[in-house]
Amino acid sequence: MLDIRRISSSRWWHKKKNWIIFGILLFLAFARISKGSIYKDFYYFVSRPFWPGQFQNEIILESIDQEYLIKLNLLKKDNIRLRELLYLQESTNNNAITAAVISRKTGGWWRQIILNKGSKDGVQIGSIVMGPGGLLGRVNNTSLFTSSVKLLTSPESKIGVWVDRIEMSGLLIGSGDDYPNLILYSKDADIKVGDFVSSSPASTLLPPNLPIGIVKSIDKQFKAETTAKILLLAKPQVIDWVQILKVKINE
């Protein structure tokens, strides 16, 4: 009788150790079938305090910038190649002259800057003047040592522009204040504050895709036109150095 009791108490499911081993095997099977998802989720919570901080973020952003720069250069090359194929204007040109602003009239009716590079340095009438941010204006007059630039805010300035989001051409007219007016010849133009404005691909005066400004406010629509005020990206009031682009425009 005593022997029978001993046998019955020694069955495997009566042993705690066996159940532990069974549990471990079951867990391993689940982990294998779920491809370790439970581990990963667990690791997510455990490692959270040690995630990459600001320093890591900067490195990543720098890498992203480099990536964009490389992509931009590739796209530029593509753009030049395709434009050559289609006999369109060049959008980039490395013939840039750096010049200092020696006179600045950015208020009132006369809005112009005078640069310290003139015809002696190869500046030509019609050359494009770029400041940090974007387009400032065009060279309107040159002397031997200086060149005068008519700013986009001048009442005499009229250039063709392109609103990228709505893919529509318009006319940018200087009006004697700091915010030139954009005229779109459509009453239903879906223009919004913050839209980016660049030089028009159809312009005969400027190369395409030069950044100009963003839409600051939209005026009331009248007749068949929509007008808006443009905030220029390049600020002629504070810029001391500019780049004159010797761009060949196919008239």
Binding site: S103, R104, K105, T106, G107, G108, W109, W110, Q112, I114, N140, N141, S148, K150, S154, P155, E156, I173, S175, G176, D177, D178, N181, I183, F222, K223, E225, T227, Q237
Partner: protein
């Protein structure tokens, strides 16, 4: 050469007008707008030399300033010619205080006249393509210019008038005095 310039202070200052027009000192401006510099010279010079001389030198000033500014469609000549002629008809007042206030008032009105004529040219040029309405807000340029010209005129015009009179007296020319 030095003797020529000391003899002809008015010519020396005349040469400086386009330079200060180009210099455009921002610390003297309001909202980026400057006083209308040529009037500070034209007023004392016309008061001493009369209407016809004022008209002629107003024309010369307009020519020079038009050439240093880039606007080829608009001109400053009509305003300066009218101002030169008008300033020549103004007599020098005996009371110094009244005279100072009068310089401010006359230069403000002159600046308003020149600014308005320039503004009308811009409006008429853009009248055909219905964009002229966009230029209306820039009327503030005239107001700021009028204010600044009136503010600086008593100081600058009185000094220039004194210098021109002394220069003229030294060389035997009598100026008109009421």
């Amino acid at each position: 050469m030095n003797k020529f310039f000391t003899k002809n202070f008015s010519i020396t200052f005349f040469i400086f007008i386009p330079i200060i027009f180009l210099w455009h000192p921002s610390w003297l401006g309001l909202f980026g707008i400057q006083p209308y510099w040529p009037l500070f010279w034209l007023l004392p010079w016309s008061m001493i030399n009369g209407s016809i001389n004022g008209l002629i030198f107003g024309f010369f000033l307009g020519l020079i300033l038009d050439s240093v500014s880039l606007e080829s469609n608009f001109t400053q000549i009509p305003g300066l010619v009218l101002c030169g002629f008008w300033f020549g008809r103004i007599r020098i007042h005996v009371d110094i205080l009244v005279e100072h206030f009068r310089y401010g008032l006359v230069c403000s009105l002159g600046s308003f006249l020149c600014g308005s004529l320039y503004f009308l040219q811009i409006l008429s040029k853009n009248f055909s393509d219905s964009a002229f309405l966009l230029f209306i807000p820039s009327f503030q340029n005239i107001l700021a210019e009028v204010f600044l010209t009136g503010l600086f005129a008593p100081l600058i015009c009185s000094q220039l008038l004194r210098i021109f009179k002394l220069s003229r007296e030294k060389h035997g020319n009598k100026f008109r005095k009421e």
